[in-house]
């Protein structure tokens, strides 16, 4: 389907108030589908091994997409799609996507359940605001990790000491400077061709447009086209997508359905997530998909609800419509905490065994610059071990339950478990973790080896 058709439907679809979209369309339809398809979850099974359940989740998500469509918040109109259009869209999804160039090129592909091909490791913490002085060393800390395949980053919250404001002039400067730092980081670690998901400092379309140039975002890079909660787009994001198509860059469709939100509990969130990908494939012009469910209270992807949603949605697509899906790892905890490592491992196990690629870590909920390369290293090591060992869904579930026992208390902490800023966890001269952080990593890695993960050491 041509993007012009999306523009047309955005202007000619049936008018509906946003409140009615939220309640009458999304919430009501979702509740009915959860009942109709008998969708249930068990808090003791964050990684389900139930093919029929995964198929029902997919069928319900498709039904949601077909029966209500998507909503354009700018025009307050509903974009409806024929079933055949959605099906054709699914059949035409990319099965191979090259990112980056030269020796650093990587090719994304749809993974299968219990796939023995390792997930690609996309390192970074989109959304996390960074002081300018920390941006470059933080990105280098994960770009220098050999296990990392692709790079993303947080945003610049200030430029030359001035606050960046969305939609104002400094958004342009911040986005271009972010890209400049990213290319500097890649050059300094000797991997200049690594593929990027960037322009994270661009919230409006301003920065995005300013960075669509080979000196900044190259055609072999990607940027985010988010779907708004739930099943909504707006003209600004359509503009970003169209700019990308005209320029020849990749679009990463981002879907952050809320567990406990309009879809209801975890099963409804999974249904909304499936529908988001099916619709975002067309409305967001997505070349690949980023799965990032959010817990309504705890935010983190390491909650039982979100672990389950990520797992079952990945399985649903792997079984019914193979797609390139990168799943986000956004732990509650931040750098220099053991819990961050446990959360990262749990997420990496669940995503890898269920058929996703890995992106993260948005440590400390992705709200603070409290992330480092070390937890990214662990994320990749766990992902590679899970795929290499051919771990079963049942085994993965047992491991995740053990890890939940080690970190789940952080969700009850009033201030979360933010840990420390990057520069308090890493030596900025050597760009190596401080001894205490390195010891925590070694100890957690031993624990993971003891429960059965055969982790390799990467030099």
């Amino acid at each position: 389907m041509d993007y012009l058709e999306i523009l047309d439907r955005s202007n000619t679809g049936v008018y509906l108030s946003e409140e009615n979209w939220d309640l009458e369309k999304v919430a009501m339809t979702c509740m009915q589908l959860v009942r109709q398809y008998d969708l249930k979850w068990d808090r003791q099974i964050p990684v389900p091994d139930d093919p029929a359940l995964a198929d029902r989740i997919f069928a319900a998500g498709f039904e949601l997409a077909a029966s209500i469509g998507a909503y354009n918040r700018s025009s307050e109109r509903v974009l409806r799609f024929e079933r055949s259009e959605l099906e054709t869209g699914l059949k035409q999804m990319k099965t191979s996507l090259s990112m980056g160039c030269a020796a650093d090129e990587r090719v994304l592909f749809p993974r299968k359940i219990m796939d023995t091909r390792p997930p690609l490791v996309w390192a970074g913490n989109p959304g996390a605001p960074h002081p300018e002085a920390l941006f470059l060393p933080a990105v280098m800390s994960w770009a220098q990790e050999p296990i990392v395949d692709l790079i993303t980053c947080g945003s610049l919250a200030e430029v030359d000491g001035r606050e960046v404001r969305t939609g104002e002039a400094l958004e342009i400067s911040a986005t271009r400077r972010e890209l400049t730092y990213l290319h500097q980081a890649l050059a300094r670690v000797g991997r200049p061709g690594m593929g990027l998901l960037a322009a994270q400092s661009s919230v409006s379309e301003l920065g995005d447009l300013a960075a669509s140039h080979p000196h900044y975002l190259r055609p072999c890079d990607a940027h985010l086209i988010p779907m708004l909660n739930e099943l909504k787009i707006d003209n600004r994001n359509i503009a970003r997508a169209v700019n990308s198509i005209e320029y020849g860059m990749r679009n990463g469709g981002l879907y952050c359905a809320i567990a406990g939100g309009l879809g209801g509990d975890a099963p409804g969130c999974a249904v909304v997530s499936v529908a988001s990908i099916i619709l975002g494939n067309l409305t967001n012009r997505a070349d690949y998909h980023i799965l990032h469910p959010i817990h309504i209270r705890h935010v983190a992807t390491s909650t039982r609800e979100v672990l389950w949603v990520e797992s079952v949605v990945l399985q649903a697509f792997a079984r019914n419509a193979p797609a390139i899906i990168v799943a986000d790892v956004y732990p509650k905890s931040g750098a220099l905490t053991r819990e961050l490592l446990y959360e990262t491992a749990a997420n990496a196990i669940a995503i890898t065994v269920s058929g996703g690629h890995l992106e993260g870590c948005g440590s400390a909920d992705g709200l603070l610059p409290n992330a480092s390369g070390l937890e990214v290293r662990l994320m990749g090591e766990v992902g590679q071990a899970v795929s290499r060992q051919g771990v079963s869904l049942e085994q993965a579930n047992r491991w995740v339950l053990k890890l939940l026992g080690k970190y789940e208390h952080v969700f009850q902490l009033p201030g979360g478990n933010p840990g420390v800023r990057f520069d308090q966890a890493y030596d900025l001269q050597t760009l190596q973790p401080l001894p205490e952080w390195a010891r925590m990593y070694d100890n957690v890695k031993k624990e993971l080896q003891e429960i059965g993960l055969k982790l390799r050491i990467f030099d």
């Binding site: 605001p129 969305t166 919230v203 406990g260």
Partner: protein
């Protein structure tokens, strides 16, 4: 008899059934029940139960929003009577307070703001929800025109947060800061940030936003 009618009203809120809530409120008025009892012991108690269930994770956002919709439908029925009684005894009809609420200019995230809006409504506040990406001039003009007690702003994005400081400085330069309490919230908003920009308070979640609004009204 009265208790069973009030229980029925409560139940319509718990069920989130707007038509039933409206009908129950009509029946209660027709039966001559005390309007304040319909409000406080029927509607607000039902809304409070749903709010507690939401806080405990027993129900989810749709149930909360349907409950708020049912509350609004029933309030539309009893408000004229409340206003008449208020005019008679000189107490006015305003409920706990009037809040002008918005996701600040440049930010389009609304789920958190919507939950706050719903909990404030079910918690007894009158809410004017201006939506997302609302220019500060519009927030201020809406607050001035409506005679709001509280201005509530949310920003999820760090790069949108500066506009909340702009709002407060604009109120100050207009000489209108003293007319409103300003509460702020959002994923990255901390109490320290709220204090730095001169807000009257911040809340990390919707339940605490309701508590904050009540505290601010006590101080007003």
């Amino acid at each position: 008899m009265n208790t069973s009618v009030l229980d029925l009203i409560q139940q319509t809120l718990i069920d989130g059934d707007a038509e039933a809530a409206e009908a129950a409120a009509c029946s209660a008025l027709a039966a001559g029940l005390d309007t304040q009892a319909i409000l406080n012991e029927g509607l607000m108690r039902g809304a409070d139960i749903v709010g507690q269930q939401f806080e405990a994770g027993e129900v989810f956002l749709p149930q909360l929003m349907f409950s708020a919709r049912a509350l609004k439908a029933a309030l539309a029925v009893i408000t004229p009577e409340l206003e008449r009684l208020g005019a008679e005894n000189g107490t006015g009809s305003r409920r706990q307070g009037l809040v002008v609420l918005a996701t600040i200019q440049s930010d389009i995230h609304d789920i958190g703001k919507n939950i706050v809006s719903t909990l404030l409504t079910t918690g007894g506040f009158e809410v004017i929800d201006l939506g997302v990406d609302v220019p500060i001039k519009r927030i201020i003009s809406s607050a001035l025109e409506s005679g709001a007690d509280i201005i509530g702003c949310s920003a999820m994005l760090t790069t949108s947060m500066p506009f909340m400081g702009d709002l407060i400085r604009t109120l100050e330069s207009m000489g209108e800061r003293g007319r409103f309490k300003v509460m702020v919230g959002g994923a990255s908003v901390t109490p320290e940030y709220a204090a730095r920009i001169g807000a009257d308070g911040s809340a990390p979640n919707a339940v605490q936003a309701l508590q904050l609004a009540r505290r601010l009204m006590d101080k007003a």
